[in-house]
């Protein structure tokens, strides 16, 4: 097992390197003058020159990349052009929010998806099944930004059941340890913060997780149906075992394996969807930082965010693979 993990970690290095090259080269081919943009409407030509020199934009590309790589290894991604604060710091301010949102969405997707899929498999070819599968089809096809807008408008705006975005009630302060209000609230015993955060997370988590929930539901249903039809299940039933035992002990574990695969495939969608969801619900996360920086040509931040985002994605996939290997020993020996 350890050997498998080690092997996969080593394979990560060239991938991360490739990502850094792609991002760096990409951001430096951009048309349009970053220095000009920073100097703004009221900047003079002298300002533009000064800024360009200060940012080292007049050095050759490979020199800039070298400096960038050396810094990146130490965790120094440079300075944000917009705010003049370290990029690493900007990312660390935003990252906990995205992690919290993604975990919430994943929990919703897996929980609701499994429940729906297994339920549909339990009562196949009934109205419940048909209804569930239609819901799944719609869920998979809805663009995540539209889902978000609708949820915000209907449940936040018209019905007023949930707040209109952001992570906490206005003016609420909490002691920041991890940056995730839910965790920090629990750690410091501040239940008001926990309650407020939970209320604010519901709509974004549902919006973000809806597509994944649909995919997982569909997968869970089909694998469950397949497994329920296998020989060993018939044997279990013939032996006289109670239905919950048949389903719970025998069928479930095998049915879950492909679901784990699907979850791995969903992670990329979740991280991408986070950009759109955070924009709609005004959550101060990595996705919002990414889009603000791209639009503002704040390329050090874009570099940092993309590398961190891709890195997390790659690591998360690794985790999923390890989980899969744990559940299915046949994989380890490939």
């Amino acid at each position: 097992m350890a050997a498998y993990i080690a092997r996969r970690l080593v394979q990560l290095v060239p991938v991360l390197l490739g990502i850094s090259v792609l991002v760096f080269v990409g951001m430096h081919i951009v048309p349009g003058d970053v220095a000009q943009m920073l100097a703004g409407e009221k900047g003079t030509a002298a300002d533009v020159q000064r800024i360009r020199h200060q940012l080292g934009l007049d050095r050759p590309l490979y020199v800039q990349y070298g400096a960038f790589l050396l810094g990146a290894v130490r965790g120094d991604f440079g300075i944000s052009l917009r705010t003049r604060q370290p990029v690493f710091w900007e990312i660390m301010q935003a990252l906990p929010t995205t992690v919290e949102l993604s975990c919430a969405a994943l929990l919703f997707a897996v929980g609701a998806g499994l429940a729906l899929g297994l339920l549909a498999a339990r009562y196949p070819r009934t109205l419940l099944d048909a209804g569930a599968m239609t819901g799944v089809l719609v869920g998979v096809s809805m663009p995540v930004f539209w889902t978000g807008i609708l949820l915000l408008l209907v449940f936040g705006g018209l019905l007023g059941w949930f707040p209109l975005g952001s992570m906490l009630d206005e003016g609420m302060r909490y002691h920041r340890i991890t940056g995730m209000p839910l965790l920090d609230g629990l750690l410091t015993g501040d239940l008001a913060v926990v309650a407020s955060n939970l209320r604010h997370l519901v709509l974004p988590a549902v919006a973000l997780g809806a597509t994944s929930m649909a995919t997982i539901a569909r997968m869970a249903r089909s694998t469950m149906l397949e497994v329920l039809g296998l020989d060993y299940i018939r044997t279990a039933r013939a032996k006289g075992l109670a239905e919950p035992s048949v389903v719970g002990r025998h069928a479930l574990r095998n049915a879950l394996l492909p679901v784990v695969t699907v979850v791995g495939l969903q992670l990329g969608l979740l991280l991408s969807g986070a950009v759109l969801t955070e924009t709609i619900f005004a959550l101060p996360g990595l996705g919002r930082l990414a889009i603000t920086s791209v639009l503002a040509r704040d390329y050090p931040v874009v570099q940092g965010v993309v590398i961190v985002g891709a890195g997390i994605f790659v690591l998360a996939n690794l985790l999923v693979d390890v989980l899969y290997a744990y559940l299915d020993p046949r994989i380890r020996y490939q």
């Binding site: 048309p31 970053v34 409407e41 952001s166």
Partner: protein, 532 residues
């Protein structure tokens, strides 16, 4: 046994009630203002964007301030000043008994220490030596590089003197800008020349915290020289989406909206719990034409373009009733010439002018636009471009629109000799007419080049002479005459299609009292605002 249990439970229930009651008695009065984007730093010398300015205007004072609701200079940290006869020496007498939020006393020494980093290249915290800062220092004090920077001297503990190389009448207005707010030099030293994340000023509110992309909190400064603030805290909440901001205002989750799109005006005015605040803005919006290239070299063509577009319809439909422009400065600014009227909508006249200029069948040309909204253009360049394109097509002028991202756009209009149309505009920085007419329409004789923000590359020697004169004369009445004449010339020259001056519009709960708009759009004088 059971009785004791019951009593215990009763007491346990009372405890939270007790807390709630005491908390209610001490709950701080919080004013929440919704803004559209996050600040990028809170050091007045190093940032220039609106959102940062909003917050800084509550934390800092400048030497000079603006009279409530106007752009006319009034005493600030300096309670009085004198100007020499030749208009070059400004002597300021500072207030006594004022301190920065960190306890540092405010006097000529500390103010000079802070301003020194703006004008002295050998100062270790020299602003222009820091990476990528946006600053108004050249604008206010003159350029170190070009050798025409003001000289500053401390005359005594409470007297500060500036000597300018040439008379520069807008100097007072420039000093009043939020971008010349005075930061405590102790803070600048403490944070290694960059106190932008830990701002310390003399203003009515003290900085508390800033959570990235979420909110900024400031709390009242009870010792403020202008009077104790009537609210205990102000929170600037970042809400990027205008529909959400509106909903929050309606639910009293925020009390003031920093900007309101025209499509929401009716919603505010129709709601008795809300109030709409409007003031003519210190802005101008126009569609520049390349005055020295293409068909636009002929002034008749430029005037024809002005007749071809129905500005009233655009201003009412797209901009919710913005004032139609007729000249280079907005009506709220002194120097405006009320005798000059906007070009009326007259497509027939436009066509006949085009014919006289030799374009009976119109012509084809290009237009550059940007997408994002600007302070002087709340609906964004692309939308205005579309609207104008529609009207021009009707007189035979076919326009192809290309959209550029903002940085690339700025580069194109300032450094390339583009031919065609471009959306240009301006928000006034200091409330002085030279800031509009000079920056936007002057040709720099000495350098024989258009001034960097002269989008249309307008060049009229008579106009340029007037502008130079306006900077040298310090008598207010004389300057007014000069600028009114300049505006008349500009109207006839028609360097661009004059569109409008956007209104500054904010919305607030009816429970907010004492809130007054000012042309600079900053949150000045927030110590006077109270919540019922």
């Amino acid at each position: 046994m059971r009785v004791r249990l019951l009593v215990g439970i009763l007491i346990a229930c009372l405890v939270p009630v007790g807390f709630w009651a005491s908390a209610g008695a001490q709950a701080p009065k919080t004013l929440i203002i919704a803004i559209g984007a996050d600040q990028t730093g809170l050091d007045p010398q190093t940032v220039q964007n609106n959102e940062s300015g909003f917050v800084m205007s509550t934390i800092f004072d400048s030497l000079v301030s603006y009279k409530l609701g106007t752009s006319i200079p009034a005493p600030g940290l300096a309670e009085s000043w004198t100007i020499s006869r030749d208009g070059r020496v400004y002597t300021f007498k500072l207030r006594h008994g004022v301190s920065f939020h960190d306890g540092t006393p405010m006097n000529a020494h500390t103010v000079a220490e802070d301003l020194d980093r703006a004008i002295n290249p050998s100062n270790p915290c020299y602003v222009l030596a820091r990476k990528g800062v946006d600053t108004y220092d050249d604008f206010t004090f003159g350029s170190v590089k070009e050798g025409n920077v003001a000289k500053m001297e401390v005359v005594d503990d409470y007297t500060l003197r500036f000597t300018l190389p040439k008379p520069n009448a807008p100097f007072l207005s420039s000093l009043a800008m939020v971008w010349q707010g005075i930061m405590s030099p102790t803070a600048t030293k403490k944070y290694n020349c960059d106190a932008s994340q830990h701002p310390v000023g003399t203003g009515p509110f003290k900085f508390v915290e800033a959570v990235r992309n979420d909110h900024i909190t400031v709390e009242a400064n009870p010792a403020y020289w202008g009077g104790r603030p009537k609210v205990d805290r102000i929170i600037f909440q970042i809400v990027p989406e205008s529909a959400t901001r509106m909903l929050k205002l309606e639910r009293n989750e925020v009390q003031i909206l920093a900007d309101v799109p025209p499509s929401d005006y009716a919603r505010v005015t129709g709601n008795p719990q809300l109030r709409l605040y409007t003031q003519p803005g210190l802005t101008i919006l126009y569609v520049a034409m390349s005055n020295d290239r293409g068909p636009f070299v002929d002034p008749r063509v430029r005037q024809a373009m002005n007749y071809a577009v129905d500005k009233e319809a655009i201003n009412k439909g797209l901009y919710g009733g913005a004032t139609t422009a007729s000249q280079g400065i907005p009506p709220v600014l002194w120097g405006y010439n009320p005798a000059v009227k906007p070009y009326p909508y007259d497509p027939a006249k436009a066509k006949s002018l085009l014919q006289a200029a030799g374009y009976p069948n119109g012509f084809t040309t290009e237009m550059m636009v940007y997408a994002n909204p600007r302070g002087y253009n709340p609906v964004g360049g692309a939308k205005l471009g579309e609207a104008v394109q529609g009207y021009l097509a009707k007189v035979g002028v076919n326009v192809k629109i290309t959209q550029y991202e903002w940085g690339a756009y700025l580069n194109k209009i300032r450094h390339t000799e583009y031919e065609g149309f471009a959306i240009c505009g301006w928000s006034g920085d200091n409330g002085d007419p030279d800031n509009f007419l000079g920056d936007l329409f002057e040709w720099d004789e000495a350098a024989n080049h258009w001034r960097i923000n002269n989008c249309s590359r307008h060049h009229n020697p008579a106009f340029d002479r007037l502008i130079r004169q306006g900077r040298e004369v310090t008598d207010q009445a004389k300057r007014t005459q000069i600028y009114m004449e300049a505006n008349r010339i500009l109207h006839d020259d028609a360097p661009g299609i004059f569109i409008n001056h956007t209104n500054q519009v904010r919305a607030a709960r009816a429970s907010v009292r004492g809130f007054v708009l000012n042309p600079l759009q900053m949150f000045f004088h927030m110590e006077r605002v109270s919540l019922e």
